[in-house]
Symmetry: C2
Subunit: 588 residues, 2 copies
Amino acid sequence: MKFEEKALKAIVESLSETIAAARGEVPADIRFENCRIVNVFSGEIQDGDIVVAGGRIVGFGPLPAKDVRDMKGLYAAPGLIDAHVHIESSMTCPSQFAAAVLPHGTTTVVADPHEIANVMGTAGIAYMLDTSADLPANVLFTLSSCVPATSMETSGAVIGPAEIAEWISNDRIPALAEMMNFPGVLFRDPEVLQKIAVATAAGKPIDGHSPGLSGADLTAYLAAGIRSDHECVSLTEAREKLRQGMFIMVREGSGAKNARTLMPLVGSDTWHRMMWCTDDRNPHDLVQEGSIDVLLRMAVSMGIDPVTAIRMGTLVPATYFGLHHLGAIAPGRQADLVFFRDLESFDAEEVYWKGKRVAAGGVLDASVTFAEPNVPPSTMHIEAEQLDFRLQATGSRIRVIEIVPDQIVTRAGIDDACVQEGLFVSDVRRDLLKLAVIERHGRSGTKAVAFVRGFGLRSGALASSVAHDSHNVIVVGTSDADMQVAVVAVRDMGGGIVVVNEGRILERLALPIAGLLSTLPVTEIAERLHRLVQAAHSLGCPLKDPFMTLSFLALPVIPVLKLTDMGLVDVGRFDIVPLVFQENEEVL
Amino acid sequence: MKFEEKALKAIVESLSETIAAARGEVPADIRFENCRIVNVFSGEIQDGDIVVAGGRIVGFGPLPAKDVRDMKGLYAAPGLIDAHVHIESSMTCPSQFAAAVLPHGTTTVVADPHEIANVMGTAGIAYMLDTSADLPANVLFTLSSCVPATSMETSGAVIGPAEIAEWISNDRIPALAEMMNFPGVLFRDPEVLQKIAVATAAGKPIDGHSPGLSGADLTAYLAAGIRSDHECVSLTEAREKLRQGMFIMVREGSGAKNARTLMPLVGSDTWHRMMWCTDDRNPHDLVQEGSIDVLLRMAVSMGIDPVTAIRMGTLVPATYFGLHHLGAIAPGRQADLVFFRDLESFDAEEVYWKGKRVAAGGVLDASVTFAEPNVPPSTMHIEAEQLDFRLQATGSRIRVIEIVPDQIVTRAGIDDACVQEGLFVSDVRRDLLKLAVIERHGRSGTKAVAFVRGFGLRSGALASSVAHDSHNVIVVGTSDADMQVAVVAVRDMGGGIVVVNEGRILERLALPIAGLLSTLPVTEIAERLHRLVQAAHSLGCPLKDPFMTLSFLALPVIPVLKLTDMGLVDVGRFDIVPLVFQENEEVL
């Protein structure tokens, strides 16, 4: 193996400084006195000091230090690790995301840049890596394994085995990201197996994603080398997966909330294979509820030993991802520390990253400042002014996507079309609204129009460039004119979310980074989203979160009827179906 | 990262076959029915089948298989892993070592080739890798970190940072071997830190070796990234090391027996950081007692849960070394299985490696045959006929190495010399015998002669090419003539052990591989050693194992007075001292 002289020299120097400080030959940077130290190795809580030099832990005794802080009996835990999260779900850039989670004690996130990768490909991954490289937090990325997610939509990019091989060895990429394409594994898709082979050869773990998979199919999926799962929704499912060797990531997100259900699986025999993750946190929840601390609170309130809960948010993910410099208060490890007043509320009194204080009392330290990230070139390649949403009436009965409130699954309805002047049009009275998905990556120029029930708009239109997984522009409206104004507005912002009525923009949120991310603080994004929702409500929409609902209507892996830029997708058949329903067809 | 096309293709093909078998699309090779499966993930014992295809585990249900075996309720555990062992201590070649441990259920050994590396350098490591590559066992090697062990002896080779860099990425080298040079770490020896830096950059763990180290010095040693220890001799020591983040390898060897002492540390909070190892097993103990099964028996007899004991011999070392294809009965993992009748005696009824039976009822399967390994060129570079053991009498009081029976430490005595014709000579009456160490690597041609008390020979001589750590030839005798005959005999065998009396060889064991290893089965080696010991006893030697004692007399890291080819070593002073004691010197 070739080693870079410079890299080796840097390691030797760092080791040398650390050892000298550990022996007290030079003064350390800080000594935290009077800590109750959570020992994730032995499961104990020990009274002692923590000494830090050069960003690393170098001792537990009375070593000389330039700065001595009396922690007055606070509990000291390793910085928390979120084992699986999509930063894009919080609609903010990595720096603002870090700013949001650090005050909660989360110093490490392992993020899957699946959304931005679907828009920008490896350039998107590079963007996330670059803009998070200098943050006072460990922002790591798994390498998106399923871009595009399906062949029934036009994504902005393709990440194949060659790209995986190019990126997998990056120091800040500890794993191959969730292998959602489990049918591809089971049916031995050569490209899928090649991606797995590359990750295996590189010695990196492969995150799983296998909702509901069990028995022989689960075994077959795991036999490919998949090592973790964050999709368990029942105790039975989690138990089977753990028994078969998967690390179980217990998830508490904005969409999927599984922690309460899975908590009974945590025990003295199982915790070493279990960890916490948030997966998706919308801006509101991130601000109001927090990060991994939410899971610690839940765990302890349900009777789980607090040290066990902390281990699942520190040592276990560090071990799983091979991050041996993180996850414990131990010699030589990075001094990422969170001080708690008690192990019940888990309110982070103080948070340190590499021995520097970054937050206290739930607020980011004033000294922590972020440069505004560069915004990459616009990814909105739409001739918005030329869009034509008209649909020739070629029948009388049509397929209708029927929304199930607060769910990402839909129902497939069949209804009488509303026809005017030979065209299918929206029918506000019956809540039958036009829905369109417009390819925006400049790759195919495709567009599909269909009908949806459940948005309840009496006038106006809603549009967004956040539409899983390819993130084309999706728009729902009562008139073609407002739909067009909405799409133009989204395009003009370089991506974003908008509410339009009678040709006028009521509210908007620009998401100029890949049409997915804002550069605003999460609190402000949450506030703007709130106003967007209120504007939608003012137009008659009864949905709690119409933009979340909208964003999943284009995702052709979630049942049952969806719309991509290629057309209506019958997810059960995994095929495109026509808008017009023929009476001799079988009902879905 | 560059990936070899061929290697990737092989992984894809293997994945594909495994998945197909897991889905029952093609018949598997074997289905073991009616097993009680030890689940190292969940801690449970589950009734079920184990299905194997292509050497991997592919299922637990009624999949089609070419061969079905009713295991009649036997317990099925993953093949056992010895986390740290020196094959050289058993004086046999890797194939015969595997033949000895497989019937005990040990299918994986992580061996440190420290002894052969001290004689042959990386060629010795290559020899061990080559001759074990095709064995029906996983024989892995850590990369010897301390060759030579000290600067006060002439070893056969030097392994520096460049050699470490060349070998560390080898697939069958999961770690840097025990970093015995802890003073080198604490005092930041640049070469030592470079070796550590290379292993760190390669992402490989670094085994530790730090007997008795504690407090700030232990922290400093660990801060360098050292991750495990197998040298704990007290519960207090082990607890401190575990708390500071070391994986504890509980050792039960022929020399050091720590298991009984350390067993109380094993608990539900700690087992995940603990594993078993044998370190050194002499041929007799290997034959009579066994391998890792010895530790399982001891653990259970001392009240430890059997599944916990098994986890420490399977999943924990597999995780520690990053051997994710081993250590569990789980989808896709290698089908290394051991079937036990009960979890108390741990007698291995049947043992499988990659799904092939290799042993049953404590005996290797007849189908398992080994090619006799090539013997490398002789490493005995001694002009044995020219040796001159005479010592000019330059004083009257001399330093004497005093043996402590059954220990590897010695005492330092001072006694009146026996002088004849102006020469220091052996004095059988006072058990003051000549001891010589002769450099045999053809590097320096050095030789040192001194006196030892404790061998009790009334006539004759004992010689051996096994003499830690540089393995020069060591010889003790009542006359210069017999000492020379003994060294000539050792040289003529290409290395070995010999007992000589009055010019005649009484017993001998050839160790033609590096002067350390035989190609004989371990049982035969044990028998020959037994005869050697009896021959020594017949000459008046009262020591239980005179050759073990002899082999440690040249090891200058064990207190207090030793002899290397460079002279008498005062281990306390870490310096060479003269044979003649000056009355104005301070006593040791």
